[in-house]
Structures are given as C-alpha cells and as structure tokens.
C-alpha cells in the first residue's frame, strides 16, 4: 500500500550527523512500538476476556501491588535514562563543531537566507558546499527569529537577532537538499526556503571560479573595515598597547575580564565586544572604547569578526610576506588569513 503510493517514510541521510540521529530515532521508535503494542494488546485482551457477563457482576477487589508499581516505575525510568543519555551525546556531537571547518556566514531576514562563502561569494536562498568537508555556518538575523533547518543533514539551529549562533554539518552525498526556516517568522515564513547544493570538491571549485560576481572575502572586507573604523589605533596586530589588548590569535582563548570572570572569546564575545565593549572589559584595561552599536551593519560585523579570527595566521603570513620579498611566491588571497582546508 505504502509502496503503491510511492511513500517515503524516512528522510535521506546526507550528512555524517544524520546517521547518529537516525540510530537514536530507530531505537526510540522501537521503544515506542514496544510499549504501544504492549498497552494496545493488553487492553484489548483484558477488554475481551473480562467483559461483563451479568448485570450485577462486580470486579475482583484487587487494590494494587507494590512489586508491580516498582517494576513499572523502574523500567520506564531506565528506558528514559537511555534516551536521555543517548540524546545528550548526539546533541553534544551536533553542537560541537570539529576542527578545521570551512566557515560560512549566514544571515536570515524576512524572508530570505543570505550566505557568504569564505572566498567571498554571496548567495541568496541557495548554498553550495563541497561534499566531505566540515561546513560551519555562523548565523544571525536582521529582524525576527528564524531557524536554519536542513532535514537531510538533521541539523537545526535558531537564528537570532543580536547574536550569533552556529551550526555545522559534513555532507556525505552530493545532491540538492531542502533548506527550511522552521521558526515562524511572519507572512512568507513558508517561502523562506532554499536549496543546499552538495557538490564534488572539484565541481565546487569550478562553481567558485565560474564567473559569479566575486566580492572580496569576508576577512578581506573585515580588514578594510578594521582600518576604516581605525580599530588599529588601539588594537595593534602584534602585542598589547596601553589602550587595548592585541587581537592576534585570540579567537577561542580564555580571557580574564575586569571583575575576575573568565570568558571564552568566541564569536558572540567578539560581537559583544565590538558593539558593547564595556560588557567584556579585559582585565587591566580602561573603559575607553566607544560603542559601535547601530554604527556597523550585521554584515560588516561578520566581516570584522572573520578578520579578527584570522589575525594569528596574518602574523604568520607577515613572515611569509617577508619571505616573499626575498623572492618566494605567496598567493595574495592567503594574506587575508582565512582558514582554508
């Protein structure tokens, strides 16, 4: 019957993560089926066997059994603990981006998805990625809450205004996959959809080279902005100044803030530090930096952060550049410091 209707019951598995979710799903389906059948069969059997035979018949005065109560409290508890622990483990994998990911920027707005590749290519409602590589999206919203969902990859993450969220996946199969917005975002919510194109690496490279308008990479634009906003007057590339800490190689580090708290310098930290510097004042520094809230676009902010995160490699490339002066070849694009696989 289902085959006649050509009915699909399970979505395609197209990422390394999908199998992990599906394994848990099949386990929990089995648990559900077992207990559902147990209850259905039990009810049906008892319902027929103990039907009332005469009008004044009454049931046996059974009041309960402590043993049974314990059994059917403990067994469900253990089953739920398996679901909890397994689910937590899968979730942990789902939110922990592996090292060396290709970093894309994504912006949700009513009602479209905007993406930017590490090389600077921009897309709207389509996303081209190479197969077999870890892709990380750093996402934010320009208006309301959206949610990035690719069923074939089993990944989903809300996209919030005013902060960054991350999602990662590694596609395992080339093809075209649905991209949905799953947080209700207004009139055209159902049209805030797109397609993820997973391509062979060489095809992807061709696509990248294939005549699309190439803007400068996020990090390169970030570098321009860094100078445009004169960030470099206080944050020199190498070494701390009296006015501001160095930004070289800080991404992902732990930092001690004034007041003694420590924080990881992740994307959200950098974002807050640009927009509302006093909220993350580094220990030993004065509250001098002006706020950039409302003065820099979401996109520009993403570029600046991409630049700052690449700064340690920038130092390396400075050395390379010196080497280049002495005759060695170095590609210009690498000086932007984008982490490339």
């Amino acid at each position: 019957m289902l085959a006649l209707l050509d009915l699909q019951l399970f979505p395609e598995q197209a990422s390394t993560f999908a199998g992990k979710v599906d394994a848990l799903y099949f386990f929990s389906l089995a648990v559900t089926a077992f207990f559902t059948l147990l209850i259905f069969a039990g009810v049906l059997f008892l319902f027929i066997k103990y039907r009332r035979k005469s009008e004044d018949e009454v049931g046996a005065p059974i009041h309960g059994s402590l043993t049974l109560e314990i059994i059917w409290s403990v067994i469900p508890f253990l089953v739920t603990m398996v679901l909890f622990a397994w689910g937590a483990q899968v979730f942990y994998v789902g939110v922990t981006t592996p090292e060396g990911a290709r970093e894309y920027l994504a912006t949700g707005k009513q009602w479209m998805w905007k993406f930017q590749h590490p090389e600077g290519h921009r897309e709207i409602n389509t996303l081209h990625v190479p197969v077999g590589e870890t892709i990380k999206l750093t996402m934010t919203s320009e208006d309301v809450i959206h949610s990035f969902f690719v069923p074939a990859f089993r990944v989903k993450q809300d996209v919030l205004p005013g902060r960054y969220t991350q999602v990662w996946f590694e596609a395992t199969k080339t093809g075209e996959y649905h991209l949905f917005c799953t947080e209700y975002c207004g009139a055209e919510h159902a049209q805030m959809i797109g397609t993820v194109y997973v391509m062979e690496p060489d095809e992807y490279q061709e696509w990248l080279d294939g005549g699309l308008v190439i803007a400068s990479s996020p990090a390169a634009s970030g570098k321009e902005l860094f100078h445009q906003y004169a960030c470099n007057t206080c944050h020199e590339a190498q070494g701390d100044t009296r006015r501001g800490p160095s930004l070289s190689g800080i991404a992902g580090d732990e930092v001690v803030l004034s007041g003694g708290k420590t924080r990881t310098r992740d994307d959200n930290y950098l974002r807050e530090s640009i927009l509302r510097p006093s909220s993350n004042l580094v220990d030993g520094y004065q509250n001098l930096m002006p706020t950039y809230q409302g003065q820099i676009s979401e996109e520009g902010l993403g570029h600046l952060i991409a630049y700052i995160k690449g700064l340690d490699q920038d130092v390396d490339t400075t050395a390379e550049a010196e080497a280049a002066e002495s005759g060695d070849f170095v590609s210009m694009t690498d000086s932007t410091g984008v982490s490339r696989p």
């Binding site: 979710v21 209850i39 103990y50 049931g59 309960g64 409290s73 909890f84 208006d143 809450i145 993450q157």
Partner: protein
C-alpha cells in the same frame, strides 16, 4: 450516604425525573446569568466552551483543506497565518484549558466530596464572566482581522514586526487567565476545606486528586503567562523595551517566561482528563483503581515536576547546553509518573467486570492515544532527536496526541459518563458508540501521517510545501473529515437526549462515589438532602458472593 444498596442498579424499567432539581430551581435567563450554583456554572461553561470548540474546529478544517495541495490555493499567506493562530488560541485558551475543570470539575467536585457548593460561589461565577469577556475580546480581534503571531507570540515578531491585533488578543488571554486562577483557587480551597465528614484525603476519588494537581498549576502558572503577555502588550502599546534587540533586549527571555506557563499548561489539559479516565475505568470494571495511591501521587508528581521542564522547548533556541541537559533530564523524569498511571489503568482491567459503554470506549481510546503521545514526547525530550524534530510536524502530531487524543478523549468520555447525572437522561446506544469509534479512527488517520511528515522534515506553520509531502497531507486531511464527523455526532444525540433520552435515575451505571450514591440525577440545588458521611475507601464494589481467590477482601462498610 455510602450505602451499599444504593449501588445496585434500580431494576424499575420506568423511572421518573425528580420533581425538584438544580435545573428547575430557578427560571429565566437571569436565574442562569446570576447563578452561583456550581452545577449551573458548569453548564454555562459547557455551552460556551462547546461554541469555541466548534469555532476552533472550523479553523482546523480550513487548515487541513489548505494543506491538501502543496500550493497556496485557498488562502493568502497572511490569511493562513491568522487561521492557524486562531485555531490554536481558541482551542488552547478557550477550550482545552477550561474544558474538563470548568465543566466537569465545577459540576462534580462539590458532589464528589460531599459539599453544598464550591468554597467561593461568587468567585466561581466571576470566573465564567472573565472567561466570556476574554473570549469576546478575542472574537472581536478575530472579526477585526485576527492575529498572525502563532499562539506562542514569540518576540521580537510579536512585539515589533506583526501589525495585527496582538495586543487585543493578549489582553483577551490575560483576562481569561483570571478565569483559570479563580477556578484553581476555588478548587483547592474546596478540596481542602469542604470535604464531608469522613472524606479523608485518601478516600477522595482520583478525579479530585487530579483536579487538585491541576489547580496548583492554574494558580502558580497562569500569573506568569499574564505578566509575560502584559510585557508584550506594554512593548506594543507604550514602546517600553523588554524584548527589543535594538535596545539590547533578549528575545529568548520571552520564550523562557512563556513556556514557564505554557508547558505546565499542557498538564492543565491532560491531568483532569487522567482523573476522568480513572473514574470511568473504575466504574466500568467495577473494581478499585489498581494502585490508588500511586495514581494519586503521580498526579501531584506530574504537576510539580511539570513546572521544571519548560526549557525543553528551547533546545535549539541557543539555550546553553547545560541548561538543556537539566531540562532534558527532568522531562524524562516526568514521563515516569505518566507511565505509572497508564500501567495502573491497564492493570485495573485485570479481572474486572468490563462493561462495553461509550465512556469506556473513550477511556480505552485515551489509553492508546496517550501512550503514543507520551512516548513520542520522550523522543522530543531527547536532545539529539529534538534537533531534527523541533518545530516540525512531528511536534504537531505529538501534542495533538496529548491534547486531542488525551485531553479531548477524556473530556468526551467524561461528558458521556456524567451526562445522566448532569441532565437526568441517558444517551446510550449505537450513535454514542459510533462517535467514540469515529473519533478514534479519524484521529489516528489524521495525526499518524504527521509523525512521518515531521521526521521527513515538514516544518510547522507552512501553508505551501514541497510536493513530496502531499500524499501524507492528503491522508491527514482525509482523516480529519472522519474526525469531524466523530465530533459532530454527539451534538445531535446529546441534545436529543435532553428531551427524549431515557430517564437515568440516580445511578444508571451502578458506580460508586457520592455523586452517584448520595445525589439525585439531576441533583437538587444544594446537592444532597442531608450531609453525606463517608465511611469507606473510594471504588469499593462489594462482590455479591465473596470470592475465594483474589486480593484483599474489602472491609465491610459499617452502616452510617
């Protein structure tokens, strides 16, 4: 009086309606609109929530109709968004939350515990007026053009971006909240202070226990929703900034505050239904509920732990993973008392004397559907699965299994069970059986395909969708027509029975409980001719001949 003879079915074929009862204690519209009689208020609620159920049902039908095809052919996107929002708001706030407590609870709690009325009769009437004012305001907003935020009112969409009647509807729900709070306060005080002599806590019917747990949530949860919606209203009306990201506001704060009420609200819907099921199963197996204490305590357990699980709606909202772990763990814990209940009900059937009646069919339907709903809820509470399932049709199917398959089945079962008590006449036979069957089949046809759809990735709140989802959507819509027939049927035979149904007599089912054994059908205005005295546990059905085998012999009741 808990007199054993009262439990025997009256063999007289022709019974007569009692001369005086609460329905003819006063005449005219004023005697209804100014009544403080808990039974009449229950009937007022019954009529009003039925109207809102019908309205919400029409919206549900429109949703299913639109989803037959992948294109937008019935509605513009704006219209569809209003339709699903109004479906949810009407069904949740104006039907499901008041459904069993406000109708059956109001009618039965004083009867079951042997009181003349609830503790605060005027407050009880006020609660109905609050409900009506809130409902009318919402209807007004609906006629002006409705609201498109979804019932969840997520910020900043609801505060800054939506240009529909958000504030009006929020105020409507806010006012309706008073109705819930008044009902909850009234029930708790009534159960604490108004019990008849001898009615100890563990002689209370399980219906009372579940309503006590429900009232706890109503009293402590509803005000949090009230302040949350007020903050949204303040932000829209006065421009105060609470959730606006432009000012540094935190939109996720809203989600925490909202779900702090709205997750326990699910237990407001399901707990009373569980109480109904306990009563029905005991009455139609003619034996005590297996593990009475465990069923009673599990109601309280669900209510209390239910307050601590709201964050499982926020696993992918950028909530910290550690918070997620705690919420996921507690979500799993809350499943245990629910499982205990289901097992106890099933075990009650063992060696019972099971009558094939409409309420019993509904109750057994509840058992099956609630089991599926509960287990799929566990999947959603498992964080790794929730990443994929969050905000898809899997969630839609899951909560319909709980709210419709659970709460609504219980409500309909309860209405059929206590109908003879409420109106003195019976509604039995082919059509009631058919309605239970149609609801069960139609429900599964409608919502089982949605689990599949959800796992395939169909997101919620989409009016257009990729073509490969169409077959399942068509199946679901087909099921919805069966379901609609199942819901429409009772309207006809229940109304018919009011005039033409067989006169029921005080205890047509031969059940225990003060409402059956000590009160007439329909009861008199002050419920009992004289103050009942309780001398034994609930659900004691003395066997006609003592059986040799079996569990503990019931203690014979001393004559009161």
């Amino acid at each position: 009086m808990s007199d054993t003879t009262a439990r025997k079915i009256d063999p007289a074929p022709e019974r007569e309606m009692p001369k005086e009862h609460y329905l003819n204690a006063g005449h005219g519209i004023k005697s209804w609109l100014l009544t403080t009689d808990h039974k009449r208020i229950g009937v007022l609620y019954l009529i009003s929530i039925s109207v809102f159920f019908a309205l919400g049902g029409i919206y549900a039908g429109l949703i299913r109709l639109e989803l037959v095809t992948p294109e937008a052919d019935l509605f513009q996107p704006d219209t569809y968004n209003r339709v699903f929002t109004m479906h949810a708001i009407l069904m949740i706030f104006f039907f499901l939350v008041p459904s069993i407590p406000a109708t059956l609870g109001n009618f039965l709690i004083p009867l079951m515990i042997g009181a003349k009325d609830v503790a605060f009769p005027k407050l009880n009437l006020a609660s109905w007026y609050m409900y009506m004012i809130g409902a009318c305001l919402t209807l007004f907003a609906l006629m002006k053009g409705g609201v498109d935020t979804g019932w969840t009112f997520y910020t900043p969409f609801s505060t800054t971006y939506s240009n529909t009647y958000v504030t009006t509807v929020a105020i409507g729900i806010f006012i309706n909240g008073f109705s819930s709070i008044f009902t909850g306060v009234n029930f708790m005080v009534t159960i604490h202070r108004m019990r008849a002599p001898g009615m100890t806590w563990f002689r209370l019917p399980l219906f009372i226990w579940s309503h006590y747990a429900t009232s706890l949530i109503m009293v402590l949860g509803t005000p949090v929703l009230a302040i949350t919606l007020l903050l949204v209203g303040f932000e829209r009306m006065f421009g105060l900034g609470f959730f606006d990201p432009a000012l540094g506001g935190d939109p996720v704060l809203f989600q925490h505050l909202f779900w702090f009420y709205s997750h326990p609200a699910v237990y407001i819907m399901i707990l009373p239904s569980m109480g109904v099921i306990s009563e029905i199963i005991s009455a139609f197996t003619r034996k005590p509920i297996f593990g009475y204490h465990f069923v009673a305590y599990s109601s309280m357990g669900i209510a209390v732990i239910g307050f601590l699980v709201w964050g499982h709606h926020l696993f992918v909202s950028s909530q910290s993973m550690y918070a997620g772990l705690i919420f996921s763990f507690l979500t799993m814990i809350v499943a245990v008392p629910s499982a205990v209940k289901v097992f106890n009900w099933t075990a009650t059937l063992f060696r019972g004397s099971i009558a094939y009646t409409t309420p019993m069919f509904y109750a057994l339907g509840f058992l099956g559907l609630f089991t599926i709903g509960g287990l799929t809820g566990l999947m959603l509470g498992s964080m790794g699965l929730d990443i994929h399932m969050h905000d898809t049709y899997f969630v839609v199917a899951h909560f319909h299994y709980i709210m419709v398959g659970g709460a609504l089945m219980g409500y309909l079962g309860g209405i059929h069970f206590w109908w003879p008590k409420m109106f003195g006449r019976e509604a039995r036979g082919f059509f009631p059986h058919m309605s239970a069957l149609l609801v069960f089949i139609g429900f599964n046809l409608t919502f089982l395909p949605q689990f599949v759809l959800g796992y395939l990735g169909m997101p919620r709140r989409y009016h257009v969708y990729p073509e490969e989802f169409q077959v399942l959507h068509v199946l679901s819509t087909a099921g919805a027509t069966v379901l609609a027939a199942g819901y429409a049927l009772p309207v006809f035979y229940l109304v018919w029975s009011l005039k033409f149904g067989k006169v029921a007599g005080p205890n047509p089912w031969g059940a225990t409980g003060l409402e059956w054994t000590a009160a007439a059908s329909p009861p008199i205005q002050h419920n009992f001719e004289s103050m009942p005295v309780v001398t034994e546990d609930p659900y004691v059905y003395h066997p006609p001949k003592p059986r040799k085998e079996g569990g503990a012999e019931p203690v014979p009741a001393p004559t009161a």
